[in-house]
Amino acid sequence: MEQTVTVFSGFSAQDLLFLGEAALRTLWISLLSIAIGSLLGGIFGWILYETKYWGGILVNPLLDMFRSVPLIVQLVLFYNFAPIVGLNLDAFESGLVVLTMYTAALVANVARGGIESVGRSMRIASRSLGMSYWQDMRYVVFPIGTRAIFPSWVGVALGVMKDSALVSVLGYVELVKASQVLITRTQEPLLIILVVGAFYFVLSYPVSRYSAKLERRWSQ
């Protein structure tokens, strides 16, 4: 009798679940890095705005580095060199660190632009009402600036969500890595890439719809 070993098998419902889990990982690493990165980026942007000198010589070169080196190179370098300085991070943690810094670098200049958009005369007006520097920041600059940069920020966020695909090179099983696994097994690349594309769309579409809605409401 001949025994058959099944090496390849078709795409099944089980695999959809597998991709769904991977999509959640994509969502998770994106959400975390966008959230922390935006916070850091806001702080960097504030430094750039407020301290032209130190911002210029300390923060800018750092941000330039994260902005100009391709993300995939950053990921591989960080993942392989971090252990040398005693940081033993797994694929998720390494990816999170690099994506977060990448987001921060992109958000920093957007945030600086947001603060600048508020204008000196508006800020003098709020200070003349007796607001402190931080009250002016919190109640006037932040809400006005945020509205001004919101479309750019959403662009960065959606970009980071898609760029998180590159963390697959470290072996973190997010959507792209999961698709590679499935393609190898099923030999149905077209179908699987389509499904993965659909997942990304499902993740991004609500964000862009919701942001469009917010923009409409703010412009009233």
Binding site: S126, S128, G130, M131, Y139, I144
Partner: protein, 240 residues
């Protein structure tokens, strides 16, 4: 009382104020007129501490504005200021625009701040605009909103920095009327203005600024009818 003594102000090499001496009594309305660049607006900025000074002193109710020990945020609650650009907070409704500072700066409750905002909006004739966002208001309405916002801090003094200069001509009247009402109520006001009619009718005294000094100061009649200085005469001849 606002008391300015020997005030000098430089912007880098530019000597903008060259020794200003001025006193404004409680309840007085002082109009400051003069050509652009004569230092009128800068004086207001020095009075509420937004600009540093290089020499001299400014006292508001015996508080030295430019002393390091002075809490400027506290002092500014006493000095309402209205600007050429009205600077309404675009993300807040008219009511919220006025209620914000009383709530966060004066520490009033939300309800108290709202009551004050309602009162001040009605005061400036915006009683029907509580929930309207600034971009749906005309320039004149936004400027009145700015006046209400300043009044909500319960200031002892109001500083007007060319409050009508950025307005379309047909909107100037409503803002001047609001300022007139304030003057009649006894508010102490310093009005930097190009509105000679207003300066003449409403002020107790008028100061003419020329190249960073008070060239001439006196009653409206004295300045407009019988000015002594040649500079004043020339200026008035030009703006008439």
């Amino acid at each position: 009382m606002i008391k300015v003594n020997g005030l000098h102000k430089y912007f880098d090499d530019l000597h903008v104020l060259r020794g200003i001496d001025l006193e404004v009594q409680k309840g007085e309305v002082l109009s400051v007129i003069g050509a652009s660049g004569s230092g009128k607006s800068t004086l207001l900025y020095c009075i509420n501490g937004i600009e540093q000074i290089q020499e001299g002193s400014v006292y508001v109710d015996d508080v030295d504005v430019h002393s390091k020990a002075t809490d400027l945020n506290k002092l500014r609650q006493r000095l309402g200021m209205v600007f050429q650009q009205w600077n309404s907070f675009p993300h807040l409704t008219a009511l919220e625009n006025v209620a914000l500072a009383p709530q966060i700066v004066r520490g009033l409750t939300k309800a108290e701040a709202k009551d004050i905002a309602i009162k001040q909006l009605e005061h400036v004739g915006l009683g029907d605009k509580f929930d309207v966002y600034p971009n749906a208001l005309s320039g004149g309405q936004q400027q009145r909103l700015a006046i209400a916002r300043a009044l909500a801090m319960d200031p002892q003094y109001m500083l007007f920095d060319e409050a009508t200069s950025a307005l379309d001509p047909e909107l100037v009247g409503e803002v001047l009327d609001t300022m007139r009402v304030l003057a009649e109520e006894g508010m102490t006001m310093i009005c930097v203005t190009h509105e000679m009619g207003f300066a003449r009718d409403v002020s107790d005294r008028v100061a003419y600024f020329h190249e960073g000094v008070v060239e001439e100061i006196g009653s409206p009649d004295q300045i407009f009818v019988d000015p002594e200085s040649e500079h004043t005469k020339k200026f008035l001849a030009k703006v008439r």
